[in-house]
């Protein structure tokens, strides 16, 4: 029994006359009983028809009379539905002449012909072919924008009926096409695929419809509300669903009625399925990386469309992840970055990778550790630790407070003037040195010109020879170390040249630590301790030695 009340009767009649389908009528009567929509379409139509045909006086009385009246129209409609799908042109035409068309003027057939077990099977087959690993699903529906125009037109019709009966219902109370559609389809698709349909599922199956015949329905809105339709990149048409809804909120009832028929004109064709697409929410993987090479950029280095330098930290880390998660793409981010010629030693630099549309998303701790091993075995130029799956929210920790954090560096310094050991001792006593850095020339082409105040918390100098010493620095994040050493045309003040009262230059730079305590440390499994895929010399987390200087041709370092 349908949860319809006496007040709904005129609405049902008006909508039936207008060519609305049974499920759309339920929507406009604000029926929120989901099972009502899941009923067999033909049965539902019969029931509604009989409800409409019942005389108001007999509603609570003689049911026999009601049933008698029901039969003929119900049969008629059932016939139409059967013939609607018939390929035989003559029959279709005949029936179309009788009732014009049985395709719903509002949903254009979406709630009539794409809501059955067969269609659910079709969705399930498409999903299975994509070979995703998933444990639940959620449907999303994309409808042609003109459906909103037609919905509005039918709504005006309902409003007129209500006004005459002095009822009040808001447009917001009407059940949305999408909502009704999901009520029906969710359980059907869920049965086919054997997983529950959950509103918050990580796996989304989107079904898109198009209806070229009525695409022109929206066009009149552009004349009345041109401001709503602005051309946007990557949109084929300005008549997006959002823009149409916005324009419909603005347009007056009179204006709408003048330009669009109310009720909407009957369509001759059915909506067509445009696509069934699967999308798994991104998975975030975080960790820390060391970079042992002075010829490895963090991200692919391309100048004038030409690749410079083979590989990159980003590629070495993400290649095994992409294949394991069978992801379609990725976004790599890290807590700051180092130049191509700078090594990152110590505990490494925190990073996070967003893996887009992964086909496989569930990994055990052991599997993730195995992935880390795969990355580490693939190259001796980098090493990854603390690899783990994290939430999107947690990735925020990496960036928050980045400016306040300190960073430790070790630099090999050259001095023009010959130095003695005691010439550099004074550097150890300098605490919290404030420096002013103009945007370095080397990045000025892509960053705004500004003077930034930075703090060098501590320095510690170790004598090497009469022209070289090692300088360890602990600085505020964002300090440009190279510029602090060579002065950048005097654009960083004070700089090491000022302090040393001679020209100084930086020959090598290592990041010793990035003091961001995220992601959490993952202890190495017992079985892995003391075992490593890296050659011994790659583990050296010590300041660069004289050998390092000799084995790296400096010309290629900078």
């Amino acid at each position: 029994m349908l949860p319809l009340k006496e007040k709904d009767r005129p609405i049902v009649r008006a909508l039936l006359d207008a060519g609305c389908c049974a499920r759309c009528i339920l929507r406009f009567c604000c029926v929120s009983l989901q099972s009502a929509y899941r009923q067999n379409y033909e049965d539902l139509t019969c029931e509604l028809q009989s409800f409409a045909d019942t005389r108001e006086t007999s509603i609570s009385g003689d049911s026999a009379e009601k049933e008698q009246q029901d039969v003929p129209p119900c049969k008629k409609i059932r016939l139409d539905i059967e013939k609607g799908g018939d390929e035989d042109g003559k029959d279709v035409k005949e029936s179309a002449e009788k009732t014009e068309s049985n395709i719903c003027v509002v949903c254009l057939g979406v709630l009539q012909h794409f809501c059955d077990k067969d269609f659910a099977k079709k969705i399930a087959e498409t999903v299975m072919a994509e070979k995703y690993e998933f444990h639940s699903l959620v449907l999303s529906v994309s409808l042609p924008a003109q459906l909103s125009v037609r919905e509005h037109s039918a709504w005006l019709l309902v409003k007129k009926e209500m006004r005459e009966k002095t009822m009040c219902l808001g447009k917001d109370d009407v059940i949305q096409v999408k909502e009704a559609y999901k009520w029906i389809l969710h359980s059907l698709v869920s049965q086919e695929l054997g997983v529950p349909a959950l509103a918050k599922s990580l796996f989304e199956v989107s079904v898109g419809f198009k209806h070229p015949e009525t695409d022109g329905d929206c066009h009149f809105l552009a004349a009345t509300c041109s401001g709503c339709f602005k051309p946007a990149k990557n949109k084929q048409s300005v008549f997006t669903r959002m823009a149409v809804v916005k324009a419909l909120e603005k347009i007056t009832e009179e204006s709408f009625r003048r330009k669009f028929s109310c009720p909407p004109k009957r369509p001759t064709t059915l909506c067509a399925l445009q696509e069934i697409q699967c999308l798994h929410v991104p998975v975030f993987v975080a960790g820390r990386y060391n970079k042992f090479s002075r010829t490895l950029p963090q991200t692919p280095w391309v100048i004038d469309g030409e690749r410079r330098m083979e590989s990159s930290v980003e590629e070495l880390i993400t290649a095994p992840l992409l294949s394991a998660f069978q992801a379609e793409g990725f976004n790599f981010s890290s807590s700051g970055r180092e130049d191509v010629d700078v090594r990152t030693l110590g505990n490494g630099r925190p990073f996070a990778v967003e893996l887009l549309n992964p086909h496989k998303a569930q990994f055990s701790t052991e599997e993730v550790h195995q992935l880390q091993e795969t990355i580490n075995k693939s190259s001796s130029k980098i090493r990854v630790r603390d690899l783990q799956i994290v939430t999107r929210e947690a990735v925020g920790h990496m960036k928050e407070g980045e400016e306040e954090k300190t960073k430790s560096y070790c630099a090999l310094i050259w001095t023009q003037r010959p130095i003695e050991e005691n010439d550099i001792e004074f550097l150890n006593d300098i605490k919290d040195l404030n420096i002013a850095q103009k945007t370095p020339l080397r990045v000025l082409h892509r960053r705004p010109l500004a003077v930034r105040q930075r703090v060098i918390h501590t320095m510690s100098a170790q004598y090497r020879d009469s022209h070289h010493f090692c300088l360890q620095l602990r600085t505020q994040a964002g300090t440009y170390i190279k510029e602090f050493v060579h002065g950048d045309f005097g654009r960083t003040r004070p700089n090491l040249c000022d302090l040393m009262k001679t020209e100084t230059d930086i020959l090598e730079l290592d990041v010793e630590s990035v003091d961001v305590d995220w992601p959490p440390v993952i202890p190495e499994p017992e079985s892995q301790k003391g075992r490593s895929s890296l050659p011994e010399h790659q583990h050296k987390d010590t300041p660069p030695s004289q050998e390092d200087i000799q084995c790296h041709p400096l010309g290629s370092l900078f």
Binding site: W414, Q416, K438, L441, R442, V443, L444, H445, R446, R447, P448, L449, H467, H486, G487, F489, G490, D505, L507, L554, G555, F558
Partner: protein, 225 residues
């Protein structure tokens, strides 16, 4: 450079910058400028080491970025990544005027087309920077060429080698000063990047030999001191 031997590595300028030169600016002998172009296209305008200010041990009386009553390079301001609001300069736009204690005035020019990013206010308070560290802390200005012009803006400038040629030829002629001489230089057939390569360089005393008309087609340029 001699520095390279001491440090065993190229200097900051040698690592990141290409040196370009413009000699005898506006026809004034030896008023040479040096343009340091970073690999990211930014140009730093400096005095070349052969500039009279650096050669004759002069002292600086004043430096002014006020190049006309209406325009001061010091007031240049840029904002944002795209450096909006910066003065746009052509090759011969004056950047500043430097007066030496002996009363001579020198104008420093932009040498390249582009947007002025900053001038060096430090040399106003410490003019000796200009004399002691002309190619680093004593720079004159920083200019950002248009992206699409980053290659073409240096076409009219000399490379380091060409500049050294000019300088050595100058030295060769030094002894001939106070006389009028014709110098004929024969070009190669091809002009490379807008600069001629010289095959020969003849210094001729005009009274001894007259240049034949027929030679003009191959001997394209005449200079005299």
């Amino acid at each position: 450079m001699e520095d390279t031997e001491i440090r065993g590595a190229p200097s900051v300028i040698d690592r990141y910058f290409t040196k370009w030169y413009k000699t005898d600016l506006k026809g004034k002998p030896c008023e040479d400028h040096c343009v340091l172009q970073h690999s990211n296209r930014i140009c730093v305008i400096t005095l070349a080491e052969t500039h009279p200010l650096l050669q004759k041990g002069k002292a600086i009386k004043s430096i002014s970025y006020q190049i006309s009553s209406a325009c001061s390079r010091l007031e240049n301001k840029v904002s944002g990544k795209s450096k909006r609001g910066g003065q746009f300069l052509t090759e011969l736009a004056p950047l500043c005027r430097i007066t030496s204690t002996d009363g001579e005035e020198f104008t420093i020019f932009s040498c390249v087309r582009g947007r002025l990013l900053e001038v060096n206010a430090d040399i106003l308070t410490r003019p000796n920077l200009l004399l002691e560290k002309p190619s680093t802390e004593g720079y004159i200005a920083i200019i950002l060429p248009k992206f699409e012009e980053s290659k073409s803006i240096t076409e009219g400038l000399l490379t380091r080698t060409e500049y050294e040629d000019v300088v050595s030829k100058r030295a060769a002629m030094k002894g001939l000063r106070n006389h009028y001489w014709y110098i004929t230089m024969q070009c190669t057939d091809a002009w490379e990047g807008g600069r001629a390569k010289w095959h020969t360089c003849n210094i001729l005393e005009p009274k001894k030999k007259k240049v034949q008309k027929g030679e003009l087609s191959t001997r394209r340029q005449f200079l005299y001191l």
